[in-house]
């Protein structure tokens, strides 16, 4: 499949940017820690589009982008695990997972 001829790189990049900032916006506006985490996952996935697209379109002689995406996935998994543990911990202490209520440390 000759993707380069069909779909320009720019499309991929625009897609990645859109997803990245949608994810960021998710982190910024959602009031639930779990949904914020989903935003983070979106951002990581957006970066992965970039890595794979660059690798595929521009630098196919090595698999750097590919492996980077792979590692990012693994780390995203670890991050999710840690996040879930912390969220459960928060839930235990604060009886809520709303980020607005977790603001005792300030100023």
């Amino acid at each position: 499949m000759n993707l380069q001829a069909e779909i320009p790189l720019d499309y991929m990049i625009i897609l990645s940017i859109l997803v990245f900032f949608i994810g960021l916006m998710g982190v910024l506006i959602r009031r639930n820690l779990i949904t914020m985490l989903m935003g983070v996952e979106l951002m990581l996935n957006a970066v992965n589009i970039n890595f794979t697209a660059f690798n595929h379109y521009l630098f196919p002689h090595r698999l750097e982008g590919h492996f980077f995406a792979l590692i990012v996935m693994a780390i995203a998994a670890a991050e999710a695990a840690v996040a879930i543990a912390l969220i459960i911990n928060i839930y235990r202490q604060f009886a809520t997972v709303s980020v607005d209520d977790v603001d005792e440390l300030k100023f």
Binding site: L24, R31, R62, L63, F67, I71
Partner: protein, 169 residues
């Protein structure tokens, strides 16, 4: 419109739409499901770009692992039926502004860049090549990251368990 193009657009549109839905849906479980759709569509994209291994990992790890984790945590911490509070208007506004500014800035910066494709011959993306590189210790070998990430996962998981566990007494 050729076939790949159509497929790409379907994937792209579903990624964007489900992303937006995932961050706006007021039902938390639905948000998770929308995220799952995004992740699956991503896998499709990888497959299109000739990275079948990556697509598979995406499906297994993300769709299969992370989303499940998220759903578990939702079940543990929230009532599934209750609607989420809508975002604050100020947050919405500032968030949207930041996102739009960010999109504009990145798009302008990236799209005006003249990418220089490599002229070297492409390398295959078959499992053999990937496996060899993943375990290689020399040039283009990824054994070291592979090892390190194992430690990372180990530490993160044990630590997570430690934190998430109720106190041992």
């Amino acid at each position: 419109m050729t076939g790949p193009k159509i497929i790409f657009f379907i994937l792209a549109i579903s990624i964007v739409v489900f992303s937006i839905l995932s961050i706006t849906s007021r039902k938390i479980l639905r948000a998770a499901i929308y995220l799952l759709f995004v992740l699956v569509a991503m896998a499709g994209l990888y497959y299109m770009m000739n990275f079948p291994f990556l697509a598979a990992v995406q499906l297994i790890l993300y769709a299969g692992g992370i989303v499940v984790l998220i759903i578990f945590s939702i079940l543990l911490t929230s009532q599934i039926n209750s609607k989420l509070e809508p975002p604050r208007r100020s947050h919405l506004l500032s968030g949207a502004l930041t996102a739009i500014a960010g999109i504009a800035l990145s798009a302008v910066t990236i799209l005006q860049f003249a990418f220089k494709p490599s002229s070297k011959p492409a390398i295959g993306t078959d499992m053999r090549t990937i496996g060899l590189q993943l375990m290689g210790t020399g040039e283009n070998g990824y054994a070291l990251p592979f090892e390190v990430i194992s430690i990372l996962l180990l530490a993160a998981l044990v630590g997570s368990i430690f934190i998430a566990l109720k106190n041992r007494t």
